[in-house]
């Protein structure tokens, strides 16, 4: 138990806190309510406030539009982009933070540039280069999306390294740890929560992309956004579009919950670190220390 009873909210404070939390949950959940209703609406005519016929036609139609293969391709694309953009972002952030790069401000601005460019123009321009270089379309999509995700991962990791104390690594080296051991047992566990957040953002960039996948992918990668956008452009597909949109929301929500879980245990591990800094007593996986509920609240 690292949290003090002094910081545990009691009485009126607790009620206000709960009320605010409940309001926030409603605020975020409310937009999904019409989606859920539409997903199971076989008929819904103006001005009826609720669907006039319920059913699973929307789910069947969504499967007909190719929901499942599109979903699988989107998950794969998101994971690959996250797996590449996260370590790259971490390396860039570490170099920028600890001053191994000259003109860090200029480099930061360059890294953020992809966010400022209008994606359509950037994609059409870069695609000519990719085609000239005979880069296979699927690889081209990954490369471009990694570039688009890098500003986010770098930014998150810079924040993490801003509060990172290099002396833990130095201490471990003094005690005889090899560089690989320092990386695995000190460095990675300490930045794990930030890595999870960065990977989540990189996943989202790839997960929600339409224009790069269409133009650079050249039709090889028919991902969920392509299918949803195609279906949404037609009439009478509202239930199917609602089902697919819900399908598109679920993985990010699950990932967000996973990120929050990693963040929680990571913070607790960080607090424990000073008393157990000897390499041979440091657990490789921070989650091996179960976090008692409320410990990190």
């Amino acid at each position: 138990m690292t949290s003090s009873t002094l910081t545990t909210p009691r009485g009126p404070g607790r009620i206000v806190r709960l009320a605010v939390t409940a309001l926030l949950v409603v605020w975020f959940a409310l937009p999904f309510l019409p989606l859920v209703l539409w997903a199971f609406a076989d008929g819904w005519s103006f001005p009826s406030p609720l669907p006039t016929a319920w059913g699973v036609q929307g789910i069947q139609d969504a499967l007909g539009f190719g929901l499942l293969p599109g979903f699988a391709r989107s998950v794969l694309l998101g994971l690959v982009v996250a797996a590449i953009a996260t370590p790259l972002g971490a390396l860039a952030a570490r170099a920028l933070t600890f001053g191994t790069v000259p003109f860090p401000r200029t480099f930061s601005a360059l890294l953020l540039a992809p966010i400022a460019l209008p994606p359509f123009a950037a994609v059409l321009g870069v695609n000519v280069l990719l085609l000239r270089a005979y880069i296979p379309p699927a690889i081209g999509v990954v490369v471009v999306l990694v570039v688009l995700a890098l500003p986010y991962t770098t930014f998150v990791m810079r924040t993490a390294y801003g509060g990172y104390d290099l002396s833990y690594e130095e201490e471990a080296r003094l005690l005889g740890a090899a560089p690989a051991q320092v990386l695995r047992r000190v460095h990675l566990p300490m930045i794990a929560p930030a890595l999870a957040r960065a990977a989540f953002l990189a996943f989202l960039v790839a997960w929600s992309d339409y224009i790069v996948t269409v133009i650079v992918g050249g039709g090889e990668l028919v991902t969920l956004p392509l299918i949803v956008a195609g279906a949404a452009a037609g009439l009478g597909n509202d239930a199917a579009v609602a089902v697919m949109s819900l399908g598109a929301v679920i993985p990010p929500v699950l990932l967000l919950l996973a990120v929050l879980a990693v963040g929680g245990s990571g913070r607790a591990t960080g607090k424990r670190r000073p008393s157990s800094a000897l390499p041979n007593t440091i657990s490789a996986a921070p989650s091996a220390h179960p976090t008692t509920s409320g410990a990190s609240a």
């Binding site: 103006f46 539009f65 000519v128 085609l131 269409v214 039709g219 009478g236 199917a240």
Partner: protein, 413 residues
């Protein structure tokens, strides 16, 4: 909901496409590309084992199902794999082709595009289409060589640069429960709208459907489609358009929400009709009405409204990009798609209900029988009825001029 590849998404796509075309025109090595094949057997031989990517508007689940479940297995018998790539806008497919050609790639990933109108013209001006290949297709023999809809596509000569696929007819439909005595002319429709404020509207141009409605009103106020010259000229525009915009401005206060806002596209218009907020809808793809009534999206009393002055008809096509890496396979797909079996299958109301491009009169008795025995849709009459007094599209240059005039003369009035 469209039977025509559509969506002039003028904003980003075309604004960027134009400079690209300019670049392409300089870079394209295969200017005025035409096929290297002399006979059909050579095509069949090369097609074996090829994969063809057909890029098409993906919002029509009947169209998607037809391609995946009926057309793809049929071409598989020739050893050709057909993959469908859904896009929201046909211009996305063209942009991909322009980019590939600009990069000097002759092994393009786009093998067929469902196309017509402005997109076809844009591609033709950029030499992006393979031309002169449709005469090779055995199925072409069953089309009428003098059919004006197949000779020119919105005023752009086809020149064998795209293979016909299906016909469409601009159609109005109404809720017979709300309108017991429907008007019979387009002028009558506008009068009805003024007599029933708030129960009629049309999509705002440059939406494809709103744009064609404005052209129909132009024909109506000009005294008939024959009074509007198909070829664009500033003189004709200046002479004819004031009456059009006066009429539409006069109509505006009687529209849905007093004309303060317009639906953005056919899907939004259809949603208003489905919700009974308006009583008349319009579409280029009447084939989809059957399904929309059957699944309860549209009111059960939905009925097609035939107009005495006729409506615009057009054909849509399969275009073959000049840099496709599966030219032979794409030709086989276009040929199978044009065969009697496929045209009949696609015309089934519960499959896709699209009108054939074949000349039914010229078919053998057995083949004609197949078309004659097609079940009738309870909602949509046959093509002969729909296309009665039909007129052709104006030249593509009319479209942006009329749309811009509508924006300044009606919307910002």
């Amino acid at each position: 909901m469209s039977s025509t590849p559509r969506r002039y998404r003028r904003s980003a796509a075309l604004a960027l496409a134009v400079p690209l075309i300019a670049l392409t025109a300089c870079a394209a090595p295969e200017s005025s590309a035409s096929t290297a094949y002399e006979d059909w057997d050579a095509v069949l031989e090369d097609a074996e084992g090829q994969t063809v990517q057909l890029w098409m508007y993906g919002g029509d689940d009947q169209g998607n199902a037809y391609v995946d479940d009926i057309l793809a297995p049929a071409v598989a018998e020739y050893g050709v794999t057909l993959e469908r790539v859904p896009v929201t806008d046909t211009a996305d497919a063209l942009n991909r082709v322009f980019t590939e050609i600009q990069a000097g790639r002759d092994d393009g990933t786009v093998d067929l595009i469902w196309v017509n109108g402005d997109n076809f013209r844009t591609g033709k001006e950029a030499d992006a289409w393979l031309c002169g290949w449709t005469d090779l297709l055995p199925s072409m023999a069953a089309t009428d060589p003098d059919d004006p809809l197949l000779q020119s596509d919105f005023g752009t000569p086809v020149d064998g640069c795209e293979a016909p696929w299906q016909k469409a007819q601009f159609t109005l439909a109404y809720n017979a429960e709300a309108i017991p005595n429907p008007p019979t002319t387009l002028a009558g429709v506008l009068d009805w709208a003024e007599a029933n404020p708030g129960r009629f509207t049309y999509p705002a141009p440059p939406d494809f459907t709103g744009s064609v409605f404005v052209r129909e009103v132009l024909a109506s106020v000009s005294g008939g489609a024959d009074e509007v010259p198909a070829a664009y000229s500033d003189e004709a525009f200046d002479e004819l358009s004031p009456a059009l915009y006066d009429r539409l401005s006069e109509l505006a206060p009687s529209l849905w929400r007093g004309g303060d806002t317009y639906p953005a596209n056919e899907a939004e218009l259809g949603q208003l009709f489905a919700d009974r907020q308006i009583d008349i809808t319009m579409t280029y793809g009447p084939a989809t009405l059957t399904d929309l009534v059957a699944d309860g999206t549209y009111p059960p009393e939905t009925t097609v409204l035939p107009l005495e002055d006729g409506t615009v008809g057009n054909a849509s096509f399969l275009g073959l990009p000049a840099n496709s890496d599966s030219v032979a396979g794409a030709m086989v797909v276009a040929n199978v798609a044009l065969s009697v079996e496929q045209q009949v299958a696609k015309a089934q109301p519960d499959v896709w209900g699209q009108f054939t491009v074949l000349d039914i009169e010229s078919l053998s008795d057995a083949d004609r029988e197949l078309f004659d025995t097609l079940p009738e849709s309870p909602v949509v009459p046959g093509y002969e009825v729909l296309s009665e007094n039909a007129h052709g599209e104006l030249a593509a240059e009319w479209v942006p001029a009329l749309d811009e005039g509508w924006r300044t003369g009606v919307l910002d009035r």
